[in-house]
Each structure stands twice: as structure tokens, then as C-alpha cells.
Amino acid sequence: MHRKFIVVVLALAIVMSVFGLSAFAQEKELYSMIVFTKGAEYFNWTYAGMVDAAKILGDHIETELQGPAEWDASLEARTIDQVAVKQPNGMVVASADEATLVPAINRAIDRGIPVITFDNDSPDSKRLAYVGTDNYDFGAVGAKAMGELLGGKGEVAIIMVPGAGSMEERAAGFEAELARSFPGIKVATIINDEGDVARAESATTAALLANPNIKGVFSTHGYGGPGAAAAVRTLGRVGDVVVIASDYGGPVLELLKTGEIAATVADNPYLLGFQAMMFAYQAAHPTDHPSQNPPFGHVPALIYGGSYIITGEDLQDPEIANLYENPPQF
């Protein structure tokens, strides 16, 4: 009898202390990042940014990375609906396309979950803010590097897929910045490689043969740079033709080191994820001052992560090289 009593008291004490402790602990908050092609290096960078932002905000912030491994907007929409059931404190979403997620995002907002889009927007939805990359500026950053490398004169070619929105914007920004800062440089031709590295090589070869005055090639997407570098190598004109790539996939990094790609323009996925997390937190914590999106807190509607140049010289620093060569994994 006595012993039983002690056991009961002890058990009660344990239960009470657990409840007591949790009462003192800060309430946990969950923020979900939802992407398409989950596992892609790019989104791992964005999630790394989100995780670091959560660390700054405190131990009570939990994050998770969700979404289909496929590039399938319908699957991503389902994921949003299922994550919304958990009533996370905020969601940050990279939209697989701008239309399909609209109903799912709106349902989440209607349930009081702040939704921030990043990387790819869903402008027709009720999402509170978009954290993205200004592709026009991305192209302009490439143009500045090109202008300096060519000493302000010569002819150049742009690799892109006509009709693809982000590449069109990058090309437009590139041309405009050349015209503004380096009027001595002329865009001689547009090379359509259909976003494929092998096509980039053959099409660039043809373009360089047709017009030997082309001294520079700028690729508006990740695969064009290595393709153009291969074309320049085949024609034996390494050093004579400047190749500027986009993004920092493995092949681009290798060719930056050998110098066959002079520079690459990078956007900042880490910062996109970081900033999206911060926005989601802001939106989940309204202040007394009325916001534009009641009942949510204050967030600007749009912010850009910015673009910058990486050169082979930068990669000489082992710390920097290591950073790009070992992308985060989740």
C-alpha cells in the first residue's frame, strides 16, 4: 500500500514536471518550406538559408522542407494542402508554376497561415510577399563583367531560349546595360540552345564560325556556359573568346577554375530562403500598428536577393571554393 502510494506520487510528479517545464518553455513555432524538385541543389541552398534564419530567431523555431521530388505543380499543390492541416506558423513556397498553386495558397491564407513565395512567384494568389531575383539586374551584372573583360569593345552573343520569361529578362538587362555603360560593344546574335548543353555547344560553334568578330558569349541559363566553353575549346579559341555563364553548377565551377569560363553570374538562393523565413516570421507576428495584410504582420510585398559575379580568381580561395563545391544537403 505504502509502496503503491509512493509510485503514484512519483508518477504524478513526473507528469506535473513535464507539463510544468513545457509551460515555461517558449511555445514552439513551425515554419514549412515547400518546393518542387525537392532534393535539387538550388532548393537545398534556399533551405540552408531558412535554417540559419530560424537559428537567429531562436531555438523555439522549427523548420521543415517539404514538396515533391518531381517538377509537378499539382503534386506541390497537394503538399501545400496537407502541410496546412498542421497549421504551421508560416509557409514559404517556391511555385512550380504561377497558376496551379493559387487555390492551395489561398486556402492556406484563409486558414490564417501566412504564405510567402520565393524564387518562383504566384502573383495571382493571396500570398503576402515575394522574395525573388531581379532577372533584368542579373543580366546587367553579366553585362558589366563582359564590358570590363572585353575592354569596352567588340561583338558578343547571348545564349537563351526565346520566350522563356526569366531568360528574356536577363537578356534584356544584359543588352540595356551594355548600351548604357559600354556602347562600344554590340550584340551580334542570339543563340537559341533550347536550354540544352549539347545544343549550346553546336549552336555556339556555328555562331562563332559564322561571325569571327564575336569575342564574348553570355549564357542566360546554367547549361549554356559549359556548352559555349566547349565550342570555344573545339575551335581552339580559348582566351580569345570570353564566356560568361549563369549559376554555379558543378561543370561551371570546373571551367571557372581552368579559366575556360571567365566569370559566372549567380543569384543568391541562400539569401532567398533566409529572407523568406524572416518574412514569414514577421507576418506571423503582427504588431499593434495596423498592417496592409490583416491579420498578418508587416511584410514588404516584394524584395530581391540580388545577383553577383563569381570568377576563377574567387575560387582560388579554398574556403570559397569549398563553399560552392559542397552544397548543403538535407
Binding site: E70, S74, K86
Partner: protein, 317 residues
């Protein structure tokens, strides 16, 4: 209560195992996450697998007939795209649905004719069709999402009947119809006969080719139903819809006890349970926050277990 026990005893053993697993997962998840055992979650869970569920009904017949239909992974997005395009250019919604169903029936017909005339395995025929359709979908849409559908269509699509969404309603009706037909209707029963032993089925006077034609056409048409519903759910359509959906459909059918190697084995109720099981697994991974990378590992393991159960443990002597 006695009735329930009797019903459970009389049930297929494999289905019993799946039912048992469903209960276990429900209990574990309910303890892990307070939101799991809610009406809202179960609705979302079911709605997350309705397209596969609808397609699995017809796929069961194909597999029971001894064949397979991979092409549904191309018919599903094609139907969504055609529906969205027609609605956007002002077609009557119901006429548009009819046209999509006819196109799908035609694709099923072609699948079967190719299989019959060329005498090649349906896996190859329908895989070729899948690739063709995926390419066609890209060509039609130019890789772009079709959106901004008329408000009238969106309003119609968002309507609920007795609190149920269109896909949910469609699934319930189709599942009931399929279940009853598979037990009573002659041409559905013939599918089992033909799948189990085509030669003796032919000898007993069954027109086996009619049976094959029916199952492939139905498979395509239910994929089209799912595609039409997808347009309604997402208010848009894209060539990237339904990536890998054919595999999820076949997995649901296989977990439900149908045999991919021997025709004549499988049931609609098993497939329904298999669909429910996969729906719950996908949901459980999202709810628990366990990396979705393990989802396919888990699903694969479940499939192996289901096959082992059927072929080794519960084998009828």
C-alpha cells in the same frame, strides 16, 4: 458485433493485413500529431489521392485481364490540358468534358489495337503511348501552364454537393459502380475469366478481344475523368501534371492484391484499400515531417510485403 467479426473473418487475408496496418499507422500518427486525427486532415488526405484512386479502379481491370496501362500518365495531363483549353476558348463545359472523354476512349482503343495487331506486350505499347502523349502535351502547351479560366467554370468547379468536392463525389460514385459491376456485371466478370486463362475463356465462347478493348478504353477514360477533375481542382492545367502518376496507380492496385504477373487475380475492394493505404502513407510523411525521401523506400517495402503475402503466405493451395 458478431456480424463485424464474421465479416472480418470472411475477408481476404491480405486485405486484413492492410486494414491492420492502416489502423496501426492511424494510432501512431494520432499520438505523434494532434492534427492527424481530424476530419480536415482525412479530407485532405483523401483528396490528395483521388486522381490516383479513380485511375486505379480501371487499372485493376487492366491488370486482372493480364495487361498493364502505363499510358494513363500521359492521358491524365492531356485531358487536363484539353479541358482547360476548350473551357478557355468558350466551349460548353459539358461538351468539353464529352470531347475529352471521347479522345481518351480513342487513345485506349489505339493502345489495344497496337497491342493486338503488333502482338507486343502492353507494357511496351502503352509506354510508347505515354512518351508520345507527354511530348504532345509539351507541344500543345509550349511548356506553359494554361490558366485564367472563365470565372463561371471556376465557380462550377468549386461547388460542393452535400459538403463533398467534385473529385470526392466522382470517386465515391465510380468506386461503388465499379465494385458492384465487378461482382455482378457479365463483361466485368469476363475480365477475370480472360485474365485467368485466355485460352479456355475463348473456348467457352467469350470474345476475348472485346474484353481487352473494353479494359484499355475504360482505363484511358477514367484517366481522362481524373484529368478533367484536375483542371477543376487547380483552375489550370500543365504538361507537368501527373509526373509518375502511373506508378502510383499501379502501386495502389498491386498493394490491393492484384497480381501483375498472373491475370485473373485482384479485386476492386482491394484496390480501394490499397489507394487508401497509399494516401495515408503520403499524408503521414508530410504530417510527421520525416523526409519524403524515405516515402518511396517505405512504399516500395510495402509493395514487396504485399507481394510476398500474396504469393508466399496466403497462397491458395
Amino acid at each position: 458485433m458478431n456480424k463485424v467479426i464474421k465479416a472480418v473473418r470472411g475477408m481476404d487475408k491480405q486485405m486484413g493485413v492492410i486494414l491492420f496496418l492502416l489502423v496501426v499507422i492511424t494510432i501512431v500518427m494520432a499520438l505523434d500529431n494532434p492534427y492527424f486525427l481530424t476530419v480536415h486532415n482525412f479530407t485532405v488526405m483523401a483528396e490528395g489521392f483521388l486522381f490516383e484512386g479513380i485511375m486505379a479502379l480501371a487499372m485493376t481491370l487492366v491488370i486482372v485481364s493480364g495487361g498493364i496501362d502505363i499510358s494513363v500518365g500521359g492521358v491524365f495531363p492531356l485531358s487536363a490540358i484539353l479541358m482547360a483549353l476548350m473551357v478557355r476558348s468558350g466551349y460548353n463545359y459539358y461538351l468539353a468534358m464529352l470531347i475529352v472523354l471521347l479522345v481518351a476512349a480513342m487513345i485506349g482503343f489505339i493502345n489495344n489495337e497496337l497491342r493486338r495487331i503488333l502482338k507486343i506486350h502492353p507494357m511496351i505499347v502503352t509506354m510508347a503511348m505515354l512518351l508520345t502523349l507527354r511530348g504532345l502535351n509539351l507541344a500543345i502547351t509550349d511548356g506553359r501552364v494554361i490558366s485564367r479560366l472563365p470565372l463561371g467554370f471556376i465557380e462550377m468547379a468549386n461547388k460542393r454537393l452535400m459538403g463533398l468536392s467534385w473529385p470526392m463525389l466522382a470517386y465515391i460514385v465510380l468506386a461503388m459502380v465499379w465494385f458492384v459491376l465487378s461482382k455482378k456485371q457479365r463483361s466485368f466478370l469476363h475480365v477475370y475469366f480472360v485474365g485467368g486463362n485466355p485460352a479456355s475463356a475463348a473456348l467457352s465462347g467469350i470474345r476475348t478481344e472485346n474484353v481487352y478493348r473494353m479494359v484499355y478504353m475504360l482505363s484511358s477514360m477514367l484517366a481522362a475523368v481524373a484529368g478533367i477533375l484536375a483542371t477543376m481542382v487547380y483552375n489550370s492545367a500543365s504538361s507537368n501534371f501527373g509526373q509518375g502518376i502511373e506508378m502510383r496507380v499501379i502501386t495502389a492496385v498491386a498493394i490491393g492484391g492484384a497480381s501483375l504477373t498472373r491475370g485473373g487475380i485482384g479485386s476492386i475492394e482491394g484496390t480501394i484499400l490499397g489507394s487508401l493505404f497509399l494516401a495515408m502513407i503520403y499524408n503521414a510523411f508530410i504530417m510527421s515531417g520525416v523526409s519524403a525521401y524515405y516515402q518511396d523506400v517505405f512504399t516500395g517495402l510495402m509493395l514487396v510485403i504485399a507481394v510476398v503475402l500474396r504469393t508466399q503466405v496466403f497462397r491458395k493451395e
